[in-house]
Structure formats: structure tokens, C-alpha cells
């Protein structure tokens, strides 16, 4: 791992092209997410013209079904969806990795209990489960984040438990136990650094999934609530336009796809760095 800032810069500079591309994409999205209100020509719920207008000098990408500026909606859609997806993924990992590590390092009945609970949760189809919980708790951004994170964290639990299980039987963990390290120290100081590689890979994939899940939930009307823009529902709302030969619905879809690819390029490279494996 790079130690100093200069070294970090050098490591980044020496990254392969795909990784640089991935970093560029992710940085661009972050910039858009942060500066959306400055970049967008209008506000996200403002009606600027007639429905389904073609591209013009005023609306570079045309307007949607209600006559809102499509470019503005895209920029805000990125802000909303990326922000929520990122927070959700982070919460998913905090949840899942904590309990996965706990189960693997503590073992015994704690492991049994947690693993069986996760088995039960995983046996319920994820989307239906999320729908159910969301309709009980009511659709709000916080509920959306917590519920998606809770259900998805079962997958992260499985992964981190399996990865940490391999590490927990190593002699250096035995040495740490014999040293009298407490449970938290065993989990986070000794085990976690050794399972960062699979977790990082999972983070990239999970982020993309969360992105799609939020879009599907929005489609069902309980995700991000209108008039807030989000990329998933924009694909759906404008889907009919494809039969008229317009590419409008493809633009938000492309935004989702591009970010997914960018994140995965970056994660692949990080993985390569942290694993310390030369080829």
C-alpha cells in the first residue's frame, strides 16, 4: 500500500488505462452529484415547455412527458440515485461485514444463530421482501436506504463470513488469540485487513446492484418519490419513445451503465493493488 501522498499520486499515475478511465468516470459522476444545482439549467421539477419536445437550444436533450428539461432531470437523477446508492452500499457493508466478521471470529453459537437468521432472510425473494418492508415502514429516503441495506447486507454477511472464516484459522489469528486480544481487535485489527480484497470487489458489484434495485423500486412507486428525478424511473417513463426512434430513454440507461463499468474498473485495480499479487 502506498505510504505517502507523493507515493499515492505515483501509484495512481502508473495505473493501467482502464483504471484511469474508471477513476475519471467516477470522479465525473461525483462532480455532477455534488454540483448538480449549479450545472443544471433549470430546477428538477420546473416545467419548461410542452411534453416530449425534441432537442432544442433551450433544452439540449428535449423534454419529458410533463415538459420538464431532460438534461436537468439527468443531472439531478445522477445526484439522487448515486448519492442514495452510495450511502446504501456503505450501510450495507457496515452491517454485513460487522456481523460476518463477528460470526467468523467468534464462532460457536453466535455464528450458528447469525448464519441461520441470514439463511431465513435470504430465503425470502429480495425484491418482494424490500417491497413488503417498505410498504410497512412507508416510503421515505431513510427507510429506503435502511431497508435496502438490511436486506442486501445478508449477501455481504455471507461473503465476509466465508472470507473471514479462512483467515480465522490462520496461525497469526491463533497467535493473536493467545496474546489475549479482545474480540473487536481480532475482528478489525487482525482479520479485516486480510479480507479487504474480496470485500472491495463485492463493493463494486453491490453498488451497481443497489443502483438497479433503487431504480426498480422507483418503478414500483416506492423508491425515490417524484418529483425528485432518478435514472431508473426516467428510463421507464420515457420507454415508449424508443418506438418513435428517439434515443431519450437510452440516455439515463447509459448513465447507469457507464457508472457501473467505471466503478468496476476502479475496484478491479484497487483489488489488484491491495491483494499485493503480482499477476
Amino acid at each position: 500500500m502506498p505510504a505517502s501522498r507523493a507515493e499515492t499520486l505515483r501509484t495512481v499515475g502508473e495505473a493501467p488505462f482502464a483504471a484511469k478511465l474508471g477513476m475519471g468516470i467516477v470522479l465525473a459522476y461525483l462532480a455532477v452529484a455534488i454540483f448538480a444545482p449549479l450545472l443544471a439549467p433549470f430546477s428538477q421539477s420546473e416545467i419548461v415547455g410542452g411534453p416530449y419536445e425534441a432537442a432544442s437550444a433551450r433544452s439540449w436533450l428535449g423534454t419529458d412527458a410533463l415538459g420538464r428539461d431532460f438534461l436537468t432531470r439527468i443531472l439531478y437523477g445522477i445526484r439522487n440515485t448515486v448519492g442514495i446508492a452510495l450511502i446504501t452500499t456503505v450501510v450495507t457493508f457496515l452491517f454485513g461485514a460487522f456481523f460476518g466478521l463477528l460470526a467468523a471470529v467468534r464462532g460457536g453459537w453466535v455464528d450458528q444463530l447469525l448464519s441461520r437468521i441470514v439463511d431465513i432472510l435470504m430465503s425470502i425473494p429480495a425484491l418482494i421482501f424490500k417491497l413488503l418492508l417498505l410498504s410497512i415502514a412507508g416510503a421515505s429516503i431513510v427507510n429506503l436506504i435502511l431497508i435496502v441495506a438490511f436486506v442486501d447486507s445478508t449477501r455481504v454477511f455471507r461473503l465476509s463470513r466465508a472470507a473471514a472464516g479462512d483467515v480465522a484459522v490462520m496461525e497469526y489469528i491463533e497467535a493473536a488469540r493467545l496474546r489475549g486480544e479482545n474480540l473487536l481487535s481480532l475482528m478489525f485489527r487482525e482479520t479485516l485487513p486480510n479480507i479487504i480484497a474480496p470485500l472491495a470487489a463485492e463493493f463494486g458489484v453491490r453498488f451497481s446492484f443497489v443502483f438497479l434495485v433503487i431504480s426498480s423500486l422507483s418503478f414500483l412507486g416506492i423508491g425515490i418519490q417524484p418529483p425528485a428525478a432518478d435514472l431508473g424511473s426516467m428510463v421507464r417513463e420515457n420507454a415508449a419513445l424508443i418506438s418513435f426512434g428517439r434515443i431519450t430513454p437510452l440516455i439515463p440507461a447509459f448513465c447507469i451503465g457507464l457508472l457501473t463499468i467505471g466503478v468496476n474498473f476502479m475496484v478491479d485495480w484497487l483489488l489488484h493493488l491491495t491483494s499485493g499479487l503480482k499477476d
Binding site: Y172, I173, D279
Partner: protein, 545 residues
């Protein structure tokens, strides 16, 4: 002799990619191996002996390249030959026997099936039924129940048997050349004898040429016709076995024998009435229903070294687990300086945990790969002694100097940056950081080269002289016992068969098992293997009667 050499390597240069630069691994080596001859390649790890051995089959490891020179096998140039050409040779005319047979067999398939793969695919002699032939080879390798042993899975046979089956498999296509890469290094001394003898016999019976790679000069002396000693990718000395044994010219070759020259200092005088540093009383332990330790008693006085010796499966490592509290004994107790320690480590006080430290055999797996050397060594010091900040850094520096590691250069290094010997030194420093009364050394030198092992042993002896720690030294190697122990406990099948001061136990072994173990230590004598094998067979016959 004017026979054409089977393998001829001339001025071979191999380079490996380190970071972004090509660094030489083999610096212009030449060798010629005549049909039916056995060449021994000896050297420390990193000497390039494995690389050279593999090059003889036209193979270079990924990340390496041939930078110059020529390799020819049976008259054809195989330098940088395309893979199909090489593949036609490998398995059929050239076979390879790796150090770890367990890692070389696929654990998911029965051994016989793996054995038959090569002869079925590319065997020259189509009349030979691979299955029948396997049984024949197993018989020749003196494996028990040769008719059926092939139907077992790799984990169902012992390490020594597996290594012999690996050799049998290499023989399946009757190759012209076999490369043995440290085939007995991972085995017990007594098992090693059987494997060495089987290998030697089968190689002679079939008139196969072989390159035998090892770090043990005594072993290679039994197997080879000529020996080539390598260091840093270059030949130090080469010649016929007899000359290399009795009249080595180079200092380096002589130093390969130096383990045998190391002798323990006189132990400190035994203070009357002093409490033993560590004591085990009537300890018995089991894994589930299986008893693995039976009535173990011993006590070690402060500042002395007790060696626990035995073959694998004798219970010596289990003993270490009992002392550490990883395996609570069924009966009996562990005392350190007279105080009883809880049977389970989880119930032990911090003080109790601190007083017994363990150094592992494999420093690779015993050091957390994500931590720096400074963190690894510093952790016990901050955990037990509450050192922080500058005081902690100072202590880590002291410890690193004590184990002869450069504090400035290596403090921020991670285990993967270190050599095997350096890793083991970190393990030692980490144990010392706790300021323990007793250090358990579990086969600490068996994963190291002889020369590195000697240095580690010297270091341990020095530390004992300076700090007066007590060692419990678990080993299967009598050279190590001679080098460092004051007292010896010999174990077999979970019981103690002999115990006492070293001189008494080793010089006049009154127990036949001890005598057998001692005779199995390779000697610097070309006829040692034949002599020992003969004696063992005679013994076995006696017992039958």
C-alpha cells in the same frame, strides 16, 4: 566415457522480473548429465537450484525468461521451445517430482486415476496396462497393499507413502530423466530413509537419469553420482560425491556442514530450590475420543532448553497446544514458575498469557501479512506492558536489534517483503516483546535452509544467554537437539519414552526407539543409507521372528 549427454546446458542465463527490472537468477551455468547418472544440486533457497533443475526440462517459471545460453535434451535444442514440443516431452520422457506431494496430487481424485492419466494419454508402450503397471511400481516402491492403495484419495495415505506414489507416477511412462525437487524435505527422518531408499532403488533399476535438488548435502550424497553446489545463481563447486564429501575445496561447501558443528553452551547451574520455569504434571489430552497425550510429566529449570523430540504424530505439537492452553488437557496441570495456569487460554490472566509465548514453524502463516514489522513486534509490548508512542518505538528498535534486523530499513516492511530467515526473526522478536518466562519453539528451523537455520539457532542461544529465558524446543531434527538442547524428552505415540539430560539420553540410548531415530539422521557418509536400510530390514526380520 564418451556417451552423449542426455541433458546438456551451456552458459544458461535466466532472469526474473523483480518490480520493473530483470534481475539475473542463473548467471551462466553449464551442466551435462549422462544417461543413467544422477546429479545432485545443492544450495540454499534462492540459490537458483530449482530454477536450474526446471530449466533442464525446458521450463521457466512465469515471470522469468531465458536470457542466453542453450538447453538441449537428447540432442534436440529445447531452449525456448514452443509449448507443444515441450509437452510432448514432459511426463513422457521427462518427469518432475515436487517437494510437496500433497500439493501436487489433486485431492478430488483417486491416486490411481491420476497415475494412469499420463501413460494412457501419451504412453509409448501401448501393451502395458497402466493399472497393472501401477501395481507393479507400487510393489517396487515397497508400498503396503500395492493392489489396493491406488484406490485411495491423496489424503488417505501418509506423507511418505504419497511421496513414493508420486515417484511411482513419475516412473509411469518410463522417462529418461526425472527431476526431484526436494522430495524428502517435508518428511520425518525415519520416513525420509524409506523414501530415499525407494527412490534410489527404482532409479537404478530403470537406469533413469535424475537431477536431485536438495539443500541437504548428506541426503544428496546418498543419491547422486556427482554434486553441484550452487549459491546466488552460480556454481560454487562441483565434483564427484566422494571428493565433495571428504575434500571440499570451497569454504561455502564446508559451511554447509556447519549445523553439525554447532553445540549448546553449558547450561546455567541448577539453583537448589528454584522453582522450575515450566512444569507439566500428569497431563493427558485427547482430540475427541482419541487420546493423543498420555501421562506427560516434565519440568524445565529457568534458563535451560528442553527439546521435545519425536516423529510426526508423536504428540509433540499437541504438547505445545496443551501448554499454550489451546487444547485443555483431560487431566493434569501446567505450571509456570510454580503458579498453575488455567487449562483453557481464554480463562488465563493476561499475566499467564504473557508468560508463555509461542514461535511457530511457518513464519509465513504466523505473521499477519497486512501488518508491518513494527506493528507485529510492537503489539505484545503495547498490549502487555502498556508501552505507547516513543517508548514503544524505542522498544521495537531494541527488539529488532536484538534479533539482528535493521530497524531503520525493516520497521515499515511487511512480511511479504522479508526472507524466510527474517520472518522467523520477527517471530522471535514478537515472542520476546512480551518478556515471557517460557518460549515454545515449534519446529522453528524446519522450514529454513541449513545455513539460515544455524543463524537462527545461534540467535536463540544468544538470547537465552542474555535474558535467561527458558525454551521448550519442539523438533524432529536431532541436529537441532544437539545444537541447542540441554535436556531431551523423546516422545512416541503420545507417551514419553525417554527423558533426561541430553548427554544421557542421546549418547547411551537405552530405548530402542531413540536408537532408531538417531540412526535415521543422515550422515556425511556415502554408504550411510545402504547401511541403515540394511540394519532396519534386519531389525524388521528379527521382530517377525
Amino acid at each position: 566415457m564418451t556417451t552423449k549427454p542426455l541433458v546438456e546446458i551451456s552458459d544458461l542465463k535466466i532472469e526474473g522480473l523483480r518490480g520493473r527490472e530483470w534481475t539475473p537468477i542463473i548467471k551462466g551455468e553449464s551442466l551435462a548429465l549422462e544417461p543413467g547418472k544422477v546429479l545432485g544440486l545443492v544450495g540454499e533457497s534462492g540459490a537458483g537450484k530449482s530454477t536450474l533443475g526446471l530449466a533442464a526440462m525446458g521450463y521457466v517459471r512465469p515471470g522469468c525468461r531465458i536470457a542466453g545460453g542453450r538447453i538441449s535434451f537428447d540432442g534436440t535444442d529445447i531452449t525456448n521451445a514452443p509449448e507443444p514440443v515441450l509437452r510432448a516431452l514432459w511426463g513422457k520422457r521427462i518427469a518432475y517430482v515436487a517437494q510437496s506431494a500433497a500439493a501436487s496430487f489433486n485431492p478430488a481424485h483417486r491416486i490411481l486415476r491420476q497415475h494412469c492419466e499420463a501413460p494412457r494419454d501419451r504412453g509409448t508402450d501401448k501393451t502395458l496396462d497402466p493399472r497393472q503397471d501401477a501395481v507393479d511400481l507400487y510393489t517396487r516402491m515397497r508400498l503396503p497393499d500395492p493392489e489396493h492403495i491406488g484406490f485411495r484419495f491423496p489424503h488417505q495415505v501418509s506423507g511418505g507413502q504419497l511421496q513414493r506414489m508420486m515417484t511411482a507416477m513419475a516412473m509411469a511412462c518410463r522417462p529418461d530423466l526425472i527431476i526431484f525437487d526436494e522430495p524428502t524435505t517435508a518428511l520425518d527422518v525415519t520416513t525420509q530413509i524409506e523414501v530415499l531408499e525407494s527412490i534410489r532403488r527404482i532409479v537404478r533399476e530403470f537406469g533413469t537419469s535424475a537431477i536431485y535438488i536438495t539443500h541437504d548435502l548428506a541426503v544428496v550424497a546418498q543419491m547422486a553420482d556427482a554434486i553441484k553446489v550452487m549459491r546466488h545463481g552460480e556454481t560454487v563447486e562441483e565434483g564427484p560425491v566422494r571428493q565433495m564429501l571428504h575434500d571440499p575445496q570451497q569454504d561455502y561447501t564446508k559451511s554447509l556442514w556447519s549445523v553439525r558443528a554447532l553445540r549448546a553452551d553449558a547450561p546455567p547451574a541448577f539453583a537448589e530450590g528454584a522453582k522450575p520455569a515450566i512444569e507439566l504434571r500428569d497431563a493427558s489430552a485427547s482430540y475427541g475420543p482419541v487420546r493423543v497425550l498420555e501421562d506427560i510429566n516434565f519440568s524445565v529449570a529457568p534458563g535451560r532448553t528442553m527439546a521435545i523430540v519425536g516423529e510426526s504424530g508423536s504428540g509433540k505439537s499437541t504438547l505445545a497446544r496443551v501448554v499454550c492452553g489451546l487444547l485443555p488437557p483431560d487431566t493434569g496441570e501446567v505450571r509456570v514458575k510454580g503458579a498453575v495456569l488455567a487449562p483453557d487460554y481464554r480463562a488465563r490472566s493476561t499475566e499467564g498469557l504473557r508468560s508463555v509465548q509461542l514461535i511457530y514453524q511457518m513464519a509465513d502463516t504466523a505473521l499477519n501479512p497486512r501488518k508491518t514489522v513494527g506493528e507485529l513486534i510492537g503489539r505484545p509490548a503495547s498490549l502487555y506492558l502498556g508501552l505507547r508512542g516513543a517508548a514503544l518505538r524505542q522498544r521495537v528498535r531494541e527488539l529488532m536489534e536484538m534479533v539482528q534486523l535493521d530497524p531503520d530499513g525493516l520497521m515499515a516492511a511487511r512480511p511479504s517483503d522479508l526472507s524466510g530467515g527474517q520472518k522467523q526473526r520477527v517471530g522471535i522478536a514478537r515472542a520476546l516483546a512480551a518478556d515471557p518466562s517460557v518460549i515454545i519453539c515449534d519446529e522453528v528451523t524446519s522450514a529454513l535452509d541449513q545455513i539460515v537455520a544455524v543463524e537462527v539457532l545461534k540467535l536463540l542461544a544468544e538470547i537465552q544467554r542474555d535474558l535467561g529465558v527458558t525454551y521448550l524446543f519442539i523438533t524432529h531434527d536431532f541436529e537441532v537437539v544437539e545444537a541447542i538442547a540441554h535436556d531431551v524428552t523423546v516422545m512416541q505415540n503420545g507417551r514419553i519414552v525417554a527423558q533426561g539430560p541430553k548427554a544421557k539420553v542421546l549418547n547411551a540410548p537405552h530405548h530402542p526407539y531413540v536408537a532408531e531415530l538417531l540412526s535415521a539422521v543422515p550422515q556425511r557418509d556415502k554408504n550411510w543409507l545402504s547401511r541403515v536400510s540394511k540394519a532396519r530390514r534386519a531389525n524388521a526380520k528379527d521382530q517377525e521372528r
